[in-house]
Amino acid sequence: MNEKNSSLLIYTLIYFGFLYIPVLFLPIFSFNDANYMSFPLAGFTTDHYEEMWSKRNLHKALWASVKVGVVASVVSTAIALLAAKAFVRYKFRGQNVSYGAIMMPFLIPEIILAVSILIIWINLGFPLGLVPVTIGHILFCTPFAMLILIARIEGFDFSLEEASRDLGENAWGTFYRVSLPLYLPGIIAALLLSFIISFDEFILAFFLSGSDATLPMYMWNQMRFVKKLPHVLALGAVIIVFTTFIVLLAFWLRNVGQGKEKQDIAIKL
């Protein structure tokens, strides 16, 4: 028994080491006083962070990413909410086909999605920029948002909605007073995760952004110059911390309420 446990522990350590050690190099080198990512470390500095802060193009790219992320996450969460509600609540003709269709961008290679949108967009005669990137991100984020919301709505007791109708509320009043507050943690989790997915996304932005760089595009552009590498490392470190925080928040929100209520019922029973 003991032996088995320790081998499991070793496996776990290797697994997490493999996952996180490369990522840890980024913040380490971002404080290193050198232009190259190599050992031994040359001393501690915050210069790279100051340099990062002073780049105007970086600010522009950050703003672009935030705009795209906000629009993409709001739109894809709205679509995903309606779809998730329909899939959980009702049985209808073509259910499996439409479920598959919404999940498709999650499964097909992103580069194919990007090239397809690029071809259509150019043939329609529209200019490249943040608009096609946003459209691509909506397609790409919707399946993630829908999976999160389905998980939330599946545990939902639909007799609560019936009770609201019974107590004199119409469909909208019921949505506003009962469904929305109870779905809310799931909705916020879906918003946060879609935002992060959009914020970090590179391939669609690479093909569709034209001259309006998003943050990952900005990083990609900077990486070509050795002297600019350090402040990209600093930026990377900041993004890692920010993303981790958002993802943890989203997971916490996804389970909030649900778990507690079940626990309370279990105690009473």
């Binding site: 007791d157 007799s159 609560l160 019936e162 009770a163 609201s164 109708r165 019974d166 107590l167 004199g168 509320e169 119409n170 007073r177 009962v178 507050p181 109870l182 309420g257 507690k260 209520e261 309370d264 019922i265 009473k268 029973l269």
Partner: protein, 360 residues
């Protein structure tokens, strides 16, 4: 009192090929405690949901207090429902739950406060206003659900197996309490249950349902004493069925040949035709007598006790009648499993206690 307060006229509800409710018509009186009783899948819940407006009928129409509600959505109907799982909103407290349905009634703040206070007193939940659903016991949740529905002062209160989730002791208490409450406030109750004991102990009238149809609609004692068909006889209480065939009529009685037992004359309440072989005789276990010695009752049979189960207030005997390969259930308050030597006994039946029923 309005005899036709709720009118159910030719109501059917089909789900695909399934006829959940199949051409049902009856009326419920104003102020009545009315139960829909039947096994699961008999259509009782569907009928209740049709009254609430959560389902719309395939055919037929519904009237409450003279107005047609068939096409009205749930929020426009003069009904309120107590749900099987109570459906207490978990994100708001007890007081907000109770106030939930008052928003659109156009009441002043004082009126709302009075209604909430009154209903809290009625269901004995004063002091629980700030609690949330997760902090309440099953019985308390049931009271919140009841209060939330009653505070709207509906014309009809619909109850969907509200006692099913409670333990037996609490359930018995709530049965009495619900009954008292209903008499006190005088609102018409339509109560759905699969528990025959619950239905007959609480209701003014009971509709027994099976396969989407009403099998019998009568007062509880009538259901028990004079079941109109085999389903009702079997479903309400316990009974023994004996195969039989009818011979000639004799006024309101009829001569029957009961298989293996001989010819007897029994009452024929249901006016079953002569010379029919599709009939059975039903005898309740407690209407028979079990004894050590032979009796002078109409039918007395020697029997062997196969098994007994002691139930406290009575003992149930499973006996095999000599010469017939059939187990009959008899219950007795006087004897228990210690009472008989060599497991031999006599069981006696009075012809008055035999109900003659027709097979479908």
């Amino acid at each position: 009192m309005n005899e036709n307060f709720i009118q159910i006229n030719g109501i059917s509800k089909h789900f695909g090929n399934v006829k959940a409710v199949d051409d049902v018509s009856f009326s419920i009186k104003e102020g009545e405690f009315f139960s829909l009783l039947g096994p699961s899948g008999c259509g009782k819940t569907t009928l209740l949901r049709l009254l609430a407006g959560f389902e719309y009928p395939t055919n037929g129409n519904l009237l409450i207090d003279g107005s047609d509600i068939t096409a009205l959505p749930p929020d426009k109907r003069p009904t309120n429902m107590v749900f099987q799982n109570y459906a207490i909103f978990p994100h708001i407290n007890v007081e907000q739950n109770i106030k939930f349905g008052l928003r659109k009634l156009g009441l002043t703040d004082d009126e709302i406060k009075k209604r909430v206070d009154d209903v809290l007193a009625l269901v004995k939940l004063e002091g629980y206003e700030e609690r949330f659903s997760g902090q309440l016991s099953g019985g308390q949740r049931q009271r919140v659900a009841l209060a939330r529905a009653l505070v709207r002062q509906p014309k009809v209160l619909l109850l969907d197996e509200p006692l099913g989730a409670l333990d037996k002791k609490l359930r018995d208490e709530m049965q009495l309490e619900l009954r008292t409450l209903q008499k006190e406030i005088g609102i018409t109750f339509v109560f759905v249950t699969h528990d025959q004991q619950e239905a007959i102990s609480m209701s003014d009238r009971v509709a027994v349902m099976s396969e989407g149809k009403i099998q019998q609609l009568s007062a509880p004692n009538e259901l028990y004493k004079n079941p109109e068909n085999i389903f009702v006889s079997d479903f309400i209480g316990e009974t023994n069925f004996l195969k039989a065939s009818t011979r000639s009529k004799d006024g309101d009685h009829i001569n029957v040949a009961i298989e293996d037992l001989g010819d007897f004359k029994v009452k024929n309440n249901l006016n079953i035709p002569e010379n029919s072989s599709d009939v059975v005789c039903s005898v309740r276990p407690e209407s028979m007598m079990i004894s050590r010695d032979k009796s002078d009752w109409d039918i007395c049979l020697e029997a062997k006790i196969n098994q007994t189960s002691y139930l406290g207030e009575m003992t149930r005997f499973y006996v095999e009648v000599s010469g017939i390969n059939k187990v009959i259930t008899v219950s007795s308050q006087h004897f228990d499993n210690q009472s008989f030597e060599n497991n031999t006994c006599f069981i006696s039946i009075s012809l008055e206690d035999i109900s003659l029923l027709q097979k479908k």
